[in-house]
């Protein structure tokens, strides 16, 4: 069994860590009725997708790079202990610290201890999904530490007390008018009549507010897109430069990363970087790619006095050697959710936990248990678009199917579905019975259709007819007609051949 998040953290005041995944259906219902959300999701239909296609069209070797990236990650996962040990040794050699943590609780406590040791009052944060996963903000705030998100999107949802709804665009569900409202409510002492109409105005104001925080920061916490074993470096990519400031201006830099972020060499990281930004935002590279190797050296002009890496397992090692190992190749580019029609219909919050979209539908059950998140791998048409665009060629639909298998084995799904399938299999493995039953059903539906060609409703078919009419059969089944035809033929040909 995978370890679930510690209860203490799940019950934190940040709503995200109480999973609402079991209520996916209700969440989706609400999301579909939420006009403002639907308007925001409408923008997603083009945006990232078009930019990604353009970026890929401009790079003929993209497919080859994908293969290379997959190979690098597969090799690393097969030798994970080796590369993690090497990474640790190199961080230490550079004067940094590595903290191995098995779960959220340990990671949060470790981070808290570093804060306490430094007498810290405030914590700056770069955008990090892993910190969402471990419920870090809620945990630190409970300990009376002030936590400030420095990524604009994260900052916006922090002000709105919401979880992110997308892994690279956390506030994608929010409109600029709503952001202006949050800013007016939070940024006191400013002219209440100031203009906050354009994204530029909002960005400028956020910058000003943020600047004060940057100079006062004790601790800067970031995630990591990569950990480089050969150099002991953590790497982050951002578009706002906030991550840079977070880790260089703070006295102490803590990078939180899960085990699978490690890659062997700098060269490997640059290979994967080439597919990452293109898949994510359609950029060739993100605006800032920052490499952190140890604390400030005597000759450095800036940099933190201390450098810590919190290396977190939190269920990853349990995925090794299972059907779900491939998921550990994920580089969190979000291409899968940008292209997912289900995500596009309901948005990220409906998924009910940290990671939405196809990658979340595979990862979430690994991290919080399939009994909590059974809807997620089920709510897919298996259209395969996610796998098509995933730069790391992760077979997402196949892994969702594996979760359905686990669920079926554990008798977690609806028993009506279970018996339905068994009954259907019974029929479908008895050809004569099957022929008789389908022949009858076809005729019956035909009669019910009464020449209208389709039915508006039908008992036990509510799931279908709630949305659309049910086309009725032509009348006889193909097999009935085929048999008749063959008989006629052989009669004409003068007996069976």
């Amino acid at each position: 069994m995978h370890r679930a998040l510690p209860v203490a953290i799940r019950k934190g005041n940040n709503a995200m860590h109480v999973s609402t995944s079991p209520k996916f259906r209700e969440n989706a219902h609400d999301a579909l009725l939420d006009q403002s959300l639907q308007r925001a999701l409408g923008r997603l239909k083009t945006g990232f997708k078009d930019k990604r296609s353009a970026a890929i069209a401009a790079l003929p070797e993209f497919e080859a790079l994908r293969d290379k990236a997959v190979e690098i990650k597969n090799h690393t996962l097969e030798n994970l202990d080796h590369y993690l040990t090497a990474f640790e040794a190199n961080v230490k050699a550079n004067g940094g610290h590595v903290h191995w943590c098995k779960d959220s609780e340990e990671a949060c406590q470790t981070i808290l201890k570093i804060c306490r040791d430094k007498d810290a009052k405030s914590v700056l944060k770069g955008k990090s999904m892993i910190s969402e996963e471990i419920g870090l903000n809620a945990f630190l705030e409970k300990q009376d530490l002030q936590v400030v998100e420095t990524d604009l999107g994260e900052y916006i949802i922090q002000l709105r007390h919401e979880p992110p709804s997308h892994i690279i665009a956390p506030a994608i569900h929010v409109h600029k008018e709503q952001v202006a409202d949050s800013f007016r409510a939070t940024h006191k002492g400013r002219d209440p009549n100031r203009v906050l109409d354009e994204p530029r105005d909002l960005l400028d104001e956020a910058r000003e507010v943020m600047r004060e925080h940057f100079f006062a920061a004790d601790i800067g916490i970031t995630g990591a897109n990569f950990l480089i074993a050969e150099t002991g470096t953590s790497v982050i990519v951002t578009n706002e430069g906030n991550g840079d400031l977070t880790q260089t201006l703070s006295r102490v830099h803590i990078a939180v990363a899960s085990l699978e972020k490690v890659v062997p060499t700098l060269e490997d990281a640059s290979t994967i970087l080439r597919v990452l930004a293109r898949s994510a935002t359609g950029q060739e590279m993100s605006s800032y790619t920052t490499f952190s190797t140890g604390p400030r050296r005597a000759e450095d002009l800036d940099g933190p006095q201390e450098y810590h890496v919190v290396l977190l397992d939190n269920g990853r090692s349990n995925m090794l050697g299972t059907d779900f190992q491939d998921m550990l190749r994920c580089i969190r580019c979000a291409a899968c959710m940008n292209h997912c029609p289900v995500y596009g219909a309901v948005g990220g919050h409906a998924y009910g936990w940290v990671y939405p979209g196809p990658m979340g539908s595979v990862l979430t059950p690994s991290l919080i248990g399939i009994n909590q998140s059974g809807h997620l791998p089920n709510a897919s048409t298996f259209c395969g678009k996610c796998e098509e665009v995933c730069p790391m060629r992760i077979p997402l639909p196949k892994m969702m199917r594996h979760w359905r298998e686990r669920e079926f084995e554990k008798h977690l799904g609806a028993s009506s579905v279970r018996y339905g399938l068994k009954g259907w299999a019974f029929m479908a493995s008895r050809p004569r019975l099957y022929r008789a039953a389908t022949g009858l059903a076809a005729r019956l539906l035909r009669i019910l259709g009464g020449g209208r060609g389709a039915l508006r409703s039908l008992p036990f078919a509510g799931g279908w007819t709630q949305i659309r009419d049910l086309p009725v059969p032509e009348g006889k089944t193909f097999k009935q007609l085929w048999e008749e035809q063959q008989k006629n033929k052989s009669r004409q040909d003068g007996g069976p051949k």
């Binding site: 678009k385 479908a428 493995s429 050809p431 389709a454 279908w464 949305i467 193909f478 085929w482 048999e483």
Partner: protein
């Protein structure tokens, strides 16, 4: 994949699919006509039922195997197995080896079956080297790329190439022909609201083309889209692409279409 010299009078076992069998035999007969015209000897093993996909995709491997297993022997004697569906052909050609991976005794047979199984239209163009068809259809059509055919089997240009040879026919592409219609097998009844949003977006895209006929290569998707169009009161006619290619549109009104007056 593409063999320049088509096989001579290959024996083709038609896998008619459970939906075509029960709902739309015209598609099956269109397939037979197209295959025979292309020089194949077509047979349809009577004991076939379904490929097992509904169970496979629901996580019920045992039921999937139970339904799938008989097909291995049933189709062993044919040169090719052809289905008028990318989804069912994909199940047999891409997923059977995975489904039976834990049964080494029959795996070779399973792989042989998988290797010779094809979706109808791509079989006609890629294996039988059919380049043109001598049929007529007066109308503007739009073509939806069903997901499994498109992504598992690479069916994309083949139907368009053949449709272009139909005289009187014009193709008008929708904005997002490759976006899923929201059918997804049991998905459409398990999550009707999400499916409803997806198929609603799809029918809007279809209507915006101004085409009078919607075509696709998979009956599941077609029934979903036809049912939605009908619910919306649209009179766009919905057909399986094989019906047009075989010139058999007079055999039945469009999917979910009313019977002609006086019939």
């Amino acid at each position: 994949m593409t063999s320049p010299i088509p096989p001579v009078r290959p024996r083709v076992g038609l896998f008619v699919t459970c939906l075509v069998d029960m709902f739309r035999p015209t598609v099956g007969f269109s397939a037979v006509k197209l295959l025979e015209d292309a020089g194949c000897i077509v047979d349809m093993p009577m004991d076939q039922t379904c490929c097992g996909q509904p169970a496979f995709n629901s996580g019920d491997r045992d039921s999937a195997k139970k339904v799938a297993r008989p097909l291995i022997a049933m189709f062993a004697g044919y040169d090719y197995v052809v289905a008028p569906s990318g989804s069912c052909a994909g199940m047999i050609s891409k997923h059977f080896p995975e489904l039976f991976a834990d049964e080494p005794a029959i795996l070779a047979d399973v792989k042989a079956l998988s290797a010779k199984t094809h979706e109808l239209v791509s079989f006609l163009t890629d294996i039988m080297q059919v380049k043109t068809l001598n049929v007529q259809f007066d109308g503007t059509v739009t073509y939806h790329d069903s997901c499994s055919g498109l992504r598992e089997l690479g069916v994309k240009q083949q139907p368009r190439a053949l449709l272009q040879t139909v005289s009187g026919l014009a193709i008008r592409e929708m904005k997002e022909p490759e976006t899923c219609c929201g059918f997804g097998g049991t998905f459409c009844v398990k999550y009707p609201e999400i499916s409803g949003k997806m198929v609603g977006d799809k029918t809007a895209d279809i209507a915006a083309t101004g085409a009078t006929t919607l075509l696709a290569g998979d009956l599941g998707c077609l029934m979903n889209m036809a049912g939605k169009l009908r619910r919306e009161g649209s009179d766009i006619e919905v057909r399986h692409v094989a019906e047009i290619l075989a010139g058999m549109t007079d055999h039945a009104p469009g999917i979910a279409g009313r019977d002609p007056e006086g019939k």
